[in-house]
Amino acid sequence: MKGIWMKINMFVITMCVLMPQSVLAAAEKASMVVIVSDTRGVTGILRFWGQLYNESHLYFSLLTIVLIPLVGLLFGTLADFVMKGIGIDLEHRELSEH
């Protein structure tokens, strides 16, 4: 226990030594950049996504958080089928050991 506290104390002291770096001369913060999708060169679904991005970040975000899990599920399930077809047991494993 003593050894652990010694190590934690050394870590805290190291942090205090490093903290003075945080008072270097201030740099100007960059202003927020607005990005617009150029949909002239794309067609189909890519054009739709680009236009949705330009019209509403909220709807685009909602589309993202719905689509991402769906795509993940689709391809993960595909990998499941292949592995089960090979004969791998995907439901059980041996008792957890450290």
């Binding site: 770096q21 990005i35 996504w49 991005y53 991402i68 993960g76 494993r93 957890s96």
Partner: protein, 349 residues
């Protein structure tokens, strides 16, 4: 060969899409195996493919959410996910992350924060690597002493056992976590997750790299349960992060979907591979990954300090990380194939 390139509608760049899938597979394997998102591996990979860095974090987080969902489902079937523990830790993680992120904005207003963050990251990685290998060395010493006494080695023995000290803290409410097989005060996972979330918020990382060893060494989860539970948290924080970064307009959805195609398959491979590798095998490879990550950060720091060799040092850092991704993915895949062969042979007997 134009069909090998796809135009990203938001960032306006053309990317070699098979590269995105290969990167996704590699990071998916490693993520499913170790229980982390892997942002430190994805960013150099995206850099190499010419992906604009303004979109790198948001795109990575979006694909990570999908990949972690698959891995969590698979780990859940194996009994590796302690949902109660994950949900309790989520509270501490979110609060800690926000505190860390606010601190970083405060430091940004004061001055150059990048150097401080990189050095802090290095110190943290060094501590994690030391913890892992000290634990392995201690366990090996214990097992040697047990064999010298002529006794059978306990498969469940561990090296570092700080969690036993933590479990002695009896502040109500006391909670039993069934999958993890531990009983402790609820404040322990909340406090540990607050700390890991705070560090992740300061460093601008997902936190899987810190949370996995914290679950093992401070909370006392078995390695496999630490991996699964960590992925559960990465999944939820990934979805939240994907939403917020996309709201800021910083996610290239096409790239995220393409990477996810590879990552979803890779995640299954990595997760199933945990069936065939012992807990300490996972810890050792994790320790090596942490050391590799630390070296890549040292190279990046040197690139800033020695501008004359910046290109060489930055390229070396990228090569190191991608080499690590390739090497570890290959190792995990080979182990999985060997394990599958042995399992199928045992079934046929």
């Amino acid at each position: 060969m134009d069909w090998l390139y796809v135009l990203m509608p938001i960032s306006g760049v053309t990317i070699f899409w098979p590269g995105l899938i290969i990167l996704g597979v590699g990071v998916g394997i490693i993520g499913g195996f170790f229980g982390m998102g892997g942002a430190w591996m994805v960013t150099p990979g995206l850099n190499i493919l010419g992906f604009p860095m303004a979109f790198a974090i948001g795109t990575d987080i979006a694909h990570m959410a999908g990949k972690s969902l698959i891995s969590t489902m698979r780990h859940g079937k194996f009994g590796n996910v302690d949902y109660k523990l994950g949900l309790i830790m989520l509270v501490g993680t979110i609060v800690g992350f926000e505190v860390g992120a606010q601190m970083i904005m405060w430091l940004e207003r004061m001055g150059n924060v990048e150097f401080v963050v990189r050095v802090l990251y290095l110190v943290l990685l060094g501590l994690i690597a030391w913890m892992v290998f000290a634990d392995v060395a201690k366990k090996m010493r214990k097992d040697r002493e047990t064999r010298a006494r002529g006794e059978a080695v306990d498969a469940l023995s561990t090296g570092i056992e700080w969690h036993k000290t933590m479990h002695k803290i009896k502040i109500a409410p006391m909670v039993h976590f069934k999958a993890a097989g531990i009983t402790c005060t609820a404040w322990l996972p909340i406090f540990i997750s607050f700390l890991t979330g705070w560090i992740a918020g300061i460093l601008g990382i997902g936190g899987g790299l810190i949370r996995m060893p914290a679950l093992i060494y401070f909370i006392g989860c078995p390695t496999h349960v630490a991996v699964g539970t960590d992925l559960f948290e990465v999944m939820i924080s990934g979805l939240y992060g994907a939403f917020t970064y996309t709201m800021k307009g910083r996610t290239e959805l096409v790239a995220a979907v393409i990477m996810l195609v590879g990552a979803a398959i890779g995640a299954q491979v990595g997760t199933v591979a945990t069936k065939y590798i012992k807990g300490y095998g996972i810890r050792i490879v994790f320790g090596l990954a942490v050391i590799g990550c630390a070296f890549s950060i040292i190279l990046k720091l040197l690139a800033k300090e020695i501008p004359a060799h910046a290109t060489l040092l930055n390229n070396s850092s990228t090569t190191l990380v991608l080499g690590l991704v390739f090497g570890m993915s290959l190792y995990i895949t080979v182990k999985m194939i060997q394990g599958v062969k042995a399992e199928l042979a045992a079934k046929q007997k």
